[in-house]
């Protein structure tokens, strides 16, 4: 309320009144079907409310009626621009429950695919974020590289977007012979391409004026709001699950966790750019050390985990993607809870937007990096 008081024009000749503005759910800058209700004073946001649920499919309910293996494809369709990451989270959660050890080759291939997926997801984010703010060129450039990754996925997994890459216990099949060469070809060109995006944006005056100082989140507030992923690291909090609680084979790779200083939109942009470079570096290491051997562990055909519960979380491109599985000893989970990073990060939109202009709300939706398939589940 104090902020609101501060924003109100002082005694003037003209009376102003607050206006309600409805944004979405068909607005292209809301990245899907997010509806945002804005209360405006002139062009300044006074209050904001998100209306979500347009894509709600009840995945958690469906999971209670499906066997453990049948649930995996639903995870591709949560965050549909980072399907492989979703798979990894669920599959590792079930493996934890079954106490299955995955072959090392499968672990390495999982890391390679997940990091490629992170690059693809960040590229899509960068392209759409830039086009929201007005830089159209970047989108075309980003999709050029993203296409390469999707082609690698398509030839290996059979799908471009909803790539059902992993099975409980490993991978369904080994990679095709040219896989390594194609990934290496991509890695060869990719760092230069990131430089290219940065020449377009890093010192671009319009980009700077639209992102620097917009949506500043102090570290304590970011933690208190349960934010994770680049949004949290933009505020300078060193929390990356790949380092903090390593899963899969991440403890064997050398990489850095980029951190921001100011916690504004520009920092979050820089972090994602740096993350793409780090991901490429991880993929390179994984390819160099790729062990030989099987890609599938011995897993019973009918999966019946012991009675118990497990929480497993991975560092998805959007943040901490978690699964909480409660098993009652039968072939179907008693309860499956998805901890969606985008859903929880979206909470901070209100906090970040108040006091900024309507146009900044668009930039802020972009900086959180939401995918409504995951927000609504």
């Amino acid at each position: 309320m104090q902020e609101r008081e501060g924003l109100k024009p002082q005694e003037t000749l003209f009376d102003t009144e607050e206006m309600m503005l409805n944004m979405g759910p068909q607005h292209p800058s809301t990245h899907g079907v997010l509806r945002v209700l804005l209360k405006l004073d002139g062009e300044t946001v006074v209050d904001l409310d998100c209306d979500i649920g347009y894509l709600h499919r009840g995945v958690e309910k469906i999971a209670e009626h499906d066997t453990y293996a049948m649930i995996t494809p639903y995870w591709d369709r949560l965050d549909y621009v980072a399907a492989v990451s979703g798979d990894l989270c669920y599959v590792e959660g079930v493996e934890k429950l079954l106490q299955v050890e995955v072959p090392r080759r499968a672990e390495y291939l999982r890391v390679i695919l997940t990091e490629l997926q992170r690059i693809a997801s960040h590229l899509l984010w960068l392209g759409t974020h830039a086009i929201d703010i007005g830089a159209v060129t970047v989108l075309l450039y980003c999709f050029r590289e993203r296409e390469e990754i999707l082609k690698i996925f398509e030839d290996f997994i059979g799908a471009r977007l909803t790539a059902h890459a992993f099975r409980i216990g490993g991978l369904w099949w080994d990679v095709y012979p040219e896989f390594e060469k194609r990934v290496r070809d991509f890695l060869k060109i990719f760092p230069d391409r990131v430089d290219e995006y940065e020449t377009l944006l890093n010192t671009n005056r319009i980009w700077l004026s639209r992102t620097v100082g917009i949506g500043i989140l102090p570290a304590e507030e970011a933690i208190n709001m349960s934010l994770t992923g680049p949004v949290l690291r933009g505020s300078g909090v060193n929390y990356d699950l790949r380092k903090a609680q390593p899963y899969s084979a991440y403890s064997e790779f050398d990489f850095e966790v980029p951190l921001g200083e100011n916690g504004d939109t520009y920092d979050r942009y820089l972090i994602r750019m740096a993350e793409m470079r780090q991901s490429a570096f991880i993929v390179e290491q994984a390819l160099d050390g790729l062990p030989e051997g099987p890609v599938m562990a011995k897993v019973p055909k009918v999966i019946k985990p012991p009675v118990g519960e497990v929480y497993h979380a991975i560092e998805a491109p959007k943040g901490e993607l978690g699964v909480y599985l409660v098993s009652d000893g039968t072939g179907k989970p008693y309860r499956m809870r998805i901890r969606p990073p985008a859903y929880i990060n979206l909470q901070s939109l209100k906090r970040m937007s108040i006091g900024h202009l309507v146009a900044d709300v668009v930039a802020l939706i972009g900086t959180i990096d939401i995918v409504l398939g995951e927000v609504d589940r």
Binding site: G53, K61, S226, Q245, G308
Partner: protein
């Protein structure tokens, strides 16, 4: 294959009557042996073996049992009858569910068993709904502890011992902390509803614990647990100590849970989702509205009684209307103005 199956089909018919006759005899020796391994064996027998083989396994168990039993029983009788007596009620108590489990085929004897199992489950505390007679027995044998440790295979749930933080919490909150276990190395504390806020404030503010992030908050519905139908699960993370902790609170249906949103702002939408999906009320929540479903949606989908193929036609009839589209633009403008 056809021959085999015929044989299998034939067997139960020949042996069926004998098993029926054997039931009273078997029921007595079986239960004491039940211990930990038997329930799993039973489940296997139920699910995997064809009906014809069941009598055999039972017979084997029966043969094995007396041999094990006798040495333990006889000294009790020889030494003191008092010792023997307290032992017997324990053994007698599980018998009725056992009877039901052992004789799967003959329907009538099974029926008396189910009503007793819920009672046993209540006493055992936390218990999943799916398994019927076996786990309660294992739980009673283990001394009123949750079923998981008694299950066959690797023990996944163990009591936490020697953890300084958990010990400190136990010491500070005493009886309010009813359970402190670790599953797959993940620590879970069960706390009474009244002490939830106090515990959360302590965990957040204390310099040693410093659980500054509420990673997730959700609920689980256990319709069989009378008086404790819901578990609210709060997952905490400490950025400074890189440590996780899970807090559980049991609630009765219709009971309100104290909200942790004033403590961790991030719990806001998580609690709204729990309200939306389970109908749980969170006292002290600043803005408790439905979040994923429409405000007037009937029912709460993640409750177990909510059917999966539920299509609410009333709601759709009310909200989705099919209208004739008039392409005269002036008319559309008028309609739009009217609607506003």
């Amino acid at each position: 294959m056809a021959d085999e199956s015929e044989d299998k089909v034939n067997k139960p018919t020949t042996e069926g009557p004998t098993t029926g006759a054997d039931v009273p005899e078997k029921a007595q020796p079986l239960p004491p042996e039940a211990g930990s391994t038997d329930p799993a064996a039973e489940i296997e027998a139920k699910t995997e073996l064809p009906a014809g083989e069941k009598p055999k396994t039972e017979a084997k168990a029966e043969e094995a049992l007396p041999g094990v039993e006798k040495p333990s029983k006889t000294p009790a009788i020889e030494g003191a009858s008092e010792k023997g007596e307290p032992a017997t009620p324990e053994k007698v108590a599980p018998t009725p569910p056992k009877e039901g489990a052992a004789s799967v085929k003959p329907a009538p004897p099974v029926k008396p068993a189910p009503p007793r199992t819920p009672a046993a489950e209540k006493s055992a505390g936390e218990k999943p709904a799916g398994e019927k007679p076996a786990p309660p027995k294992a739980a009673t044998a283990a001394g009123h502890k949750p079923a998981p440790p008694a299950k066959k295979g690797p023990t996944v749930t163990v009591e936490i011992t020697g953890d300084p933080l958990i010990d400190k919490i136990k010491q500070r909150f005493g009886e309010a902390v009813t359970e402190a276990v670790a599953t797959f190395g993940q620590q879970i504390i069960r706390v009474k509803k009244e002490s939830l806020i106090e515990l959360c404030l302590y965990l957040k503010d204390d310099d040693e614990t410093l659980f500054d992030m509420c990673t997730d908050l959700t609920a689980i519905h256990w319709p069989e647990r009378a008086g404790q139908e819901f578990d609210v699960v709060v997952m905490l993370y400490s950025v400074a100590n890189n440590r996780r902790l899970r807090i559980k609170v049991a609630l009765a249906d219709g009971e309100a849970c104290p909200s942790v949103t004033p403590i961790w702002e991030g719990a806001n939408w998580m609690e709204r989702e729990a309200y939306d999906m389970f109908g749980l009320r969170f006292e002290g929540h600043p803005d408790l509205r439905r979040i994923l479903l429409p405000p007037d949606w009937p029912g709460h989908p993640l409750r177990k009684e909510y059917p999966i193929e539920y299509r609410d036609n009333e709601w759709t009839d009310k909200h989705i209307e099919y209208r004739e589209v008039d392409y005269d633009t002036s008319l559309i403008d008028v309609k739009y103005a009217e609607r506003r």
